[in-house]
């Protein structure tokens, strides 16, 4: 993949050669700041739908209460107009605000800590150019004692290492660039790593083995098993998914649709290649779970589920679960359908989903919601059916699981 390396990418490899980054940077730092702002998917939290760009105020539901995103516009009073580049870097690097208060890790400083000073400055430079918007952000709705921001000191002590990016010298530059993006601005682990009871991402071998986000299951990015996550995807599948929101297997939906729409579709092909190089190299040392046995076709649940499938699903997903490439997801061989954790599958059936809208695929193909039409038992039946038909195999879904997902906000 080395041929993909352009001088610009070499330049962007941080710390390894910071002087080069200054010299060979062909973008102005403001343009680069916009690029990096998108890489960080800052919009997802810092712009409310229909609201002013980067003016914050988005209520982030965390297990501990609602936290409102900051106003990043250069408004002096309510935004970051009074901040310096040093202040901004400290927030990114240490999770400490301009007024010395500690930020909650809903702001992923635990990832952004590896972002270089140059990149942080570029983002800051860009943010200072946008239209200042006066928008006072509400205080977080978090119970005592977590509402005292100094409590984050203890949390940080346990779960946060302020650190710089450490390149692995034995790996390629592309790989290192990928690691820098994935661990840092792209903060993939925020969704794709499991979290402990205190909301901290699990690191080490547990990182990127799958997590929950906004009522969806964010699958493992490691090669966990043949039916899971992206284990069976090719490099090109993954690159196309990140760049365009679709590939021959599936489309980005749910929170990942937003990530593709607002962030990864804007990344250069080289940065996409870097992300792919790094992710595809994530080791998985755990013993592989054996292939599950499919339920028998004669099973009552399969028969009931098959009837629902024929009347409700087959028009788009096909009689054989083949789907329509780049429009309606194929269910045959789908890792989402067969994921050990069926949360996303059930979520889609109940609440519907819209695929990412990108320049490459502007059509917002969507799955309609069936919560008004199918009971918990019926959803469990049809979910179980698609997990075990068309050559698929995965454990049955029970109505109780459906009920829990139905009741989520």
């Amino acid at each position: 993949m080395k041929h993909l390396l352009t001088p610009m990418i070499l330049a962007a490899i941080p710390l390894a050669m910071p002087a080069l980054a200054q010299d060979q940077n062909t973008w102005s730092s403001v343009q680069r700041g916009l690029y990096l702002t998108r890489m960080g998917d800052c919009e997802a939290c810092h712009t409310v739908e229909g609201g002013e760009w980067m003016a914050g105020g988005f209520g982030l539901p965390t297990p501990f209460g609602v936290i409102y995103s900051a106003n990043l516009t250069p408004d002096e009073e309510t935004g970051i107009g009074a901040w310096s580049a040093d202040d901004f870097y400290r927030a990114m690097n240490e999770g400490i605000s301009h007024d010395e208060s500690r930020l909650y890790p809903a702001f992923p400083y635990t990832n952004f800590t590896v972002v270089t000073r140059e990149d942080s400055d570029a983002i800051f430079a860009y943010l200072q150019t946008i239209e200042p918007v006066r928008n006072r952000i509400p205080e977080p709705e978090i119970p005592f004692p977590l509402d005292i921001r100094t409590s984050m000191r203890g949390w940080n002590l346990l779960f946060f290492d302020e650190r710089d990016f450490e390149p692995a010298p034995e790996k390629s530059e592309l790989w290192n660039r990928g690691k820098y993006i994935v661990e840092g601005l792209a903060h993939c682990s925020a969704c794709h790593s499991p979290r402990n009871l205190l909301g901290a991402q699990q690191g080490g071998a547990a990182s990127y083995t799958g997590g929950h986000a906004e009522g969806w299951y964010a699958p493992s990015l490691r090669d966990t098993g043949p039916h899971e996550g992206i284990g069976e995807w090719s490099d090109d599948d993954l690159a196309a998914f990140l760049k365009t929101g679709r590939n021959g297997r599936t489309a980005a939906i749910g929170p990942m649709a937003e990530v593709v729409q607002k962030s990864t579709q804007y990344l250069t092909d080289e940065d996409i290649a870097a992300i792919v190089a790094y992710i595809r190299d994530l080791p998985f040392d755990e013993p592989e779970i054996g292939d599950p046995e499919p339920l028998a076709e004669s099973d009552g649940i399969m028969i009931a589920g098959g009837e629902i499938y024929a009347t409700q699903c087959a028009a788009c997903h096909g009689i054989e679960g083949e789907g329509v490439e780049r429009m309606f997801g194929a269910l045959a061989g789908s890792s989402l359908a067969q994921a050990t954790d069926p949360t996303s599958l059930v979520h889609i059936i109940l609440k519907g989903a819209r695929s990412a809208v990108t320049d490459a695929y502007p059509t917002p193909h969507a799955m309609p919601a069936f919560d008004w039409k199918l009971t918990d038992e019926e959803v469990a039946q049809v979910a179980t059916f698609v997990r075990n038909a068309f050559g698929n195999a995965a454990p049955a879904v029970n109505p109780g699981e459906v009920s829990e997902i139905r009741d989520e906000e």
Binding site: A315, C316, V357, P362, T363, P364, F370, K373
Partner: protein, 587 residues
């Protein structure tokens, strides 16, 4: 009080097929474009989801996609001298409302007119003599030719992913297509749809009688398709909910499935829904903008440099009349152009009833799934001694088996009770309908003007429609119907019921939403409202899109020609008008 809004470069009134085409082309030029739509925002995934789109009561019988006659309608009479009465229920035609307009609920039968259709007057006189056109038949040449429109037909075919088989590629006749069509510059972008029993049975019979059947051109997708705007459509599932319905599967070309996903991303485009345009404002021979009222009753003036009227044809004509633009046509004197040459479509057909051993499976259908012959359309056949001009296509379309609407029974069946139920049971799966889709030629007495008595919810006089089928329409339709009956009798059923054109024209039973004329195009302000680029002769920054431009209504469905005329107009606007605003044709 009227609030005056900031000026825009391009203002579009009505956001159906042509509104979206204009917006897409003009935003691409970098112009600042706003569209005003009286209805609501609607798209496939949120409003026409596949798990609720197929609802006969909601859509067909409760008119969810159609215009609301309690706000505005028209009055109707068959001929001058009668008192016109308001159309209080939809019947004969079903204009749409909301984003996408009538194009949301079309069948998708996507035709090009014949080259001679555009020279209807001169061609028929040349071939059959001056007497071919009766004195009160007011047909005229269109001022545009098939060759001029061909590239734009081609654009629309590719935008929509039309499924079909070319019959004439650059002058070379092709096997399996329509040998009578004008030369095409390229093959259809998608292959024909999968045929089912009924159209195949029709095609076999037609072939035995010496005709050349071909698959009807279809805007229902025969396979997955991505158009030049990058917008993708999915293969049709043959569910039989096209006409009168929105497609939940992204399988029917509409503005929402072909243009809007790309257009709505463009920052130089604004769509304002719930905006009912009351009139076009003019000063010194130019349109200055439009006045519209919102659903909350607030009135706004939207100024603009260019105004495109893209509403349904009756509303385009009505807006001209309400705005005092041009002179309203008077059939007595022949003076005035606005409202002249209203035309419609002459529909007739036959049902072939089979015994139980031949199953049709009508629930496997699509709006443009069918086989067609074109031997009796336009001037494809010798009219010498027939006493009429023009014609229509004859087709078997297997559009649907929708249970409330579709229950063909023999004509002597009781209309209710046990006998009717038995007949429905016996015939539902064993009946094939064959139709003739005939032209209507314009006549002096068929026209639109303002009603002296009735007013709409905004206090404006209702538009008045005066229409009946005339001698040419009836003779032509009867001739077509005889051909339909011959084919029907060759289709091997146990019984054939023929339904000729019903006269006088009755506005209550559904026939077709192919109303045309009223602001027709032509080569001079003395015979038309718009020039060949659909630019108003009177007001050079006012453009009128749609079938209102048709000087008569040929024997095909109008949508592709509506679109081709729009692209033709926009091409000249881009080539000439934007650099040098003013009349594109000197009067």
């Amino acid at each position: 009080m009227t609030t005056i809004l900031p000026r825009r470069e391009v203002l579009i009134v009505g956001f159906g097929w042509t509104g979206a085409i204009v917006a897409e082309q003009m935003t691409r030029e970098g112009l600042d474009v706003i569209a005003l739509e009286r209805g609501l925002w609607r798209d496939t995934s949120t409003d026409y989801a596949v798990n609720n789109a197929q609802d006969e009561v909601r859509y067909r019988y409760r008119d969810e996609l159609f215009e609301d006659l309690s706000r505005e309608t028209l009055t109707f009479r068959n001929e001058g001298g009668q008192e016109a009465l308001p159309m209080r229920m939809l019947g004969s035609f079903l204009p749409g409302t909301n984003v996408g307009g009538s194009g949301v609920h079309w069948n998708g039968q996507t035709w090009r007119f014949l080259p001679t259709d555009f020279q209807v007057r001169s061609h028929n006189i040349e071939r059959y003599g001056e007497d071919a056109i009766p004195e009160d038949m007011t047909v005229q040449d269109w001022g545009v030719t098939y060759d001029e429109l061909e590239p734009h037909y081609d654009t629309f075919d590719k935008l929509c992913g039309i499924a079909g088989k070319a019959g004439n590629l650059g002058g070379e006749i092709q096997d399996g297509g329509n040998p009578f069509e004008g030369p095409r510059s390229s093959e259809y972008p998608n292959p024909p749809m999968e045929m089912v029993a009924a159209p195949l049975r029709f095609a076999d019979a037609a072939r035995e009688l010496g005709y050349q059947p071909f698959p009807g051109p279809s805007a229902n997708m025969s396979q997955a398709y991505t158009n030049p705007l990058g917008v993708s459509l999915a293969p049709c599932s043959y569910c039989g909910f096209c006409e009168k319905y929105a497609c939940g599967n992204y399988s029917k070309a509409t503005s929402a499935t072909t243009i809007l996903p790309a257009l709505m991303q463009r920052e130089n485009f604004t769509l304002r829904t719930g905006a009912m345009v009351l009139r076009v404002e003019t000063r010194d021979g130019q349109a200055t903008g439009v006045t519209y009222v919102t659903t909350e009753g607030e009135e706004f003036f939207q100024p603009a440099d260019m105004v495109f009227l893209c509403t349904y044809i009756t509303h385009n004509v009505n807006l001209l009349m309400q705005s005092g633009i041009g002179e309203i046509y008077d059939p007595q004197t022949g003076e005035g152009q606005v409202g002249r040459n209203y035309a419609y479509q002459a529909m007739s057909g036959a049902n072939v009833f089979y015994d139980q051993d031949f199953a049709v499976n009508p629930f496997v259908g699509a709006g443009a799934l069918g086989q067609v012959i074109d031997e009796f359309n336009g001037d494809n056949f010798d009219h010498t001694g027939l006493g009429f001009i023009g014609g229509g296509y004859i087709a078997q379309w297997q559009t649907n088996g929708r249970p409330i609407e579709h229950h063909p029974v023999p004509s002597d069946t009781p209309t209710f009770g046990l006998g009717w139920k038995q007949a429905v049971r016996e015939n539902y799966n064993h009946t094939i309908g064959v139709g003739a889709h005939g032209a209507v030629h314009s006549y002096r007495g068929n026209h639109l003007d303002l009603d002296p008595t009735y007013r709409d919810a905004y206090g404006r006089p209702l538009m008045r429609l005066t229409f009946d089928f005339k001698q040419n329409d009836i003779a032509m339709s009867n001739y077509l119907t005889d051909r339909v009956a011959e084919i029907a009798r060759a289709m091997g059923g146990r019984r054939v019921d023929v339904s000729p054109l019903k006269t006088p024209y009755d506005i209550t039973p559904y026939q077709t939403t192919h109303n045309t004329g009223g602001h027709i195009m032509g080569d001079s302000p003395s015979n038309s409202v718009t020039n060949k680029y659909n630019q108003s002769w009177d007001i050079s920054n006012l453009f009128l899109m749609g079938a209102g431009n048709f000087p008569h209504n040929p024997g095909y469905n109008p949508t592709a020609t509506v679109a081709a005329l729009a692209y033709h107009s926009l091409a000249e606007i881009k080539r000439s008008y934007l650099q040098n605003p003013g009349p594109l044709v000197q009067a």
